[in-house]
């Protein structure tokens, strides 16, 4: 028990490394000629990365047969929410100084941001229904609701790809990772279907 807690704590610490790293870069004026954009982009990047990590837990669990990873999935999901929130706060306050008219025009005119907003709304809903209490209250619906993480990931991905300007190395890497993560789920799904078929009583057509 103690060991698991230790691991849990180190994972939390690990999740905060990008934040500390950003803080150091801000302090050392290391963010380049456009530091606000750099800050904003780096927070968005980490939100996305933690979203992928969250999605990677289930396949890992299946492969390693190690139960008890649900806590980590919850943690990583909340960390993704945390970075997405920071990304949004930087956008609203640091970049736009809360000039709501400018913000409204920017969002309305930038299709890629609609998908960011969609992704954020979903992640937000998942984050507030993350506590055990909410899980209990929602019962069966909880699982349904939390399946929408796939929708959020899809939206975040569109948000990310649609705003790209030049550099394509990282995006292509992301695309590969997603294909792996998705591919795994499709395989599992196919396998389960196969398995279910075999379980059907003989002599009956499905």
């Amino acid at each position: 028990m103690l060991q698991i807690n230790k691991l849990y704590l180190s994972v939390i610490a690990g999740c905060l490394v990008p934040l500390v790293w950003l803080g150091v870069d801000i302090a050392l004026n290391n963010l380049g000629a456009n530091p606000i954009q750099a800050l904003h982009i780096r927070l968005g990047d980490w939100a996305l990365r933690f979203l992928w990590l969250t999605l990677a837990i289930t396949p890992l669990q299946t492969m390693t047969k190690w139960r008890g990873m649900a806590d980590y999935r919850q943690l990583l999901g909340l960390v993704a929410f945390f970075y997405a929130t920071a990304h949004l706060v930087v956008y609203l306050i640091v970049d736009h100084g809360l000039m709501w008219r400018l913000i409204a025009i920017d969002i309305l005119e930038s299709a890629y941001i609609w998908f960011g907003v969609l992704a954020y709304l979903i992640i937000f809903a998942l984050a507030i229904t993350s506590p055990k209490l909410a899980k209990k209250r929602l019962g069966k619906n909880w699982k349904k609701l939390h399946r929408s993480i796939y929708l959020a990931s899809g939206a975040a991905m569109i948000h990310y790809f649609w705003q790209l300007k030049g550099n394509l190395a990282e995006p292509v890497l992301y695309l590969l990772l997603i294909m792996l993560l998705l591919g795994f789920r499709i395989l599992v799904w196919l396998k389960n279907r196969q398995f279910n078929k075999m379980m059907l009583p003989k002599g009956r057509k499905q």
Binding site: G32, A33, N34, P35, I36, Q37, I93, V94, D95, H96, G97, L98, M99, L102, I105, D106, L108, E109, S110, A111, Y112, I113, W162, Q163, K165, G166, N167, L168
Partner: protein
């Protein structure tokens, strides 16, 4: 295919290529001319004291936005889109240092009376350099204020005498895949980079060819040794490292327009009301502005409407974006 266009440039004897004197000379020309001509202007970069003394040859450029505070030179030197070298703005600064710019000549051809290959030094000797502080707005929604050093493109064109059939001007960047490494692949864009202007845009006095900035020669990453600056258009129109200027009857196919015609038009005039298909152009992040400083409201024609709006009087800007 790409190389073909380049073969037309007169061969430069290899003995000249490594001669450092040429670069020194160009630097000297630019420096001397600056010292002479900028003396009449208040410029923190050339430390001219006598703002009132009338320069014998050059008045204070009336096209300079003297009221603007230039962006710190360090930022301008380290934030450039130069896809020939790198797809990120920091990387290109370092990689561009390998660029060979000596000797440099510009081939001027097409609908002109006096076509030919002009050595840059020859061009410079015929011009009076001016410092002009201009706004620079990138299509990616960031902006800066740069004190360029150069001369009006019109003053060069007048020397080569465009024919009445010249309706457009095509500019071509150097093709040097040994140093411009991304030119080895056409996956992203086709090379060499091409830009264009309508002849009245090219002849507009605001349109300049720059050989320097901040009182010094242009750094390589900023387009050395010769670049276009069209302050009312998005930055990608202001083509770098120009080796060819052609006067044409028809509009040239420009690089970004070719790559993504619905995203980048031929005109590319700065216009907050016409968003890029993927992002808004309503505001811009000014380089050097602090955290919590809101983005700047982008202006039509980047604030140069008074001077250039007449060029587009009868045009539907939504259509000709």
């Amino acid at each position: 295919m790409i190389i073909k266009t380049h073969n037309q440039i007169p061969k430069i004897p290899s003995s000249e290529i490594t001669d450092p004197l040429i670069f020194k000379e160009r630097r000297k020309i630019i420096k001397t001319m600056l010292a002479m001509t900028v003396a009449g202007m208040v410029s923190p970069y050339t430390k001219a004291e006598s703002a009132k003394s009338k320069g014998a040859t050059v008045a204070k450029s009336k096209f300079s936005n003297a009221s603007l505070t230039p962006t710190s030179a360090e930022l301008v030197k380290n934030y450039t889109n130069y896809y020939e070298f790198a797809f990120d703005k920091e990387g290109s600064t370092q990689l561009a240092q390998t660029l060979r710019t000596d000797p440099w000549s510009v081939e001027i051809s097409g609908e002109v009376e006096k076509p030919g290959a002009y050595h840059l030094e020859t061009i410079l000797r015929q011009q009076t350099l001016q410092e002009r502080i201009y706004r620079f707005r990138c299509v990616e929604a960031w902006s800066m204020v740069v004190p360029w050093v150069g001369f009006s493109l019109a003053d060069l064109l007048k020397i080569v005498k465009p024919l009445s059939t010249a309706k457009f001007v095509k500019f071509t960047t150097l093709y040097q895949p040994e140093t411009m490494l991304n030119q080895r692949s056409t996956a992203m864009l086709t090379w060499p980079y091409v830009e264009g202007l309508r002849i009245d845009e090219a002849m507009h006095p605001l349109t300049m060819l720059a050989v320097g900035m901040y009182g010094d020669v242009l750094p390589k990453q900023n387009g050395a040794p010769l670049r276009l600056v069209v302050p009312w258009k998005y930055g990608f129109k202001s083509i770098k490292a120009i080796v060819k200027i052609e006067l044409l009857k028809k509009p040239p196919l420009t690089t970004w327009n070719q790559s993504a015609p619905h995203e980048y038009g031929f005109y590319a005039n700065v216009n907050p009301a016409i968003s890029h298909p993927r992002w808004s152009q309503n505001t811009e992040r000014q380089l050097g502005s602090g955290f919590f400083t809101p983005r700047r409201q982008t202006e039509l024609f980047n604030g140069y409407g008074e001077q250039v709006a007449a060029l587009y009087r009868d045009m539907d800007l939504q259509h000709f974006f």
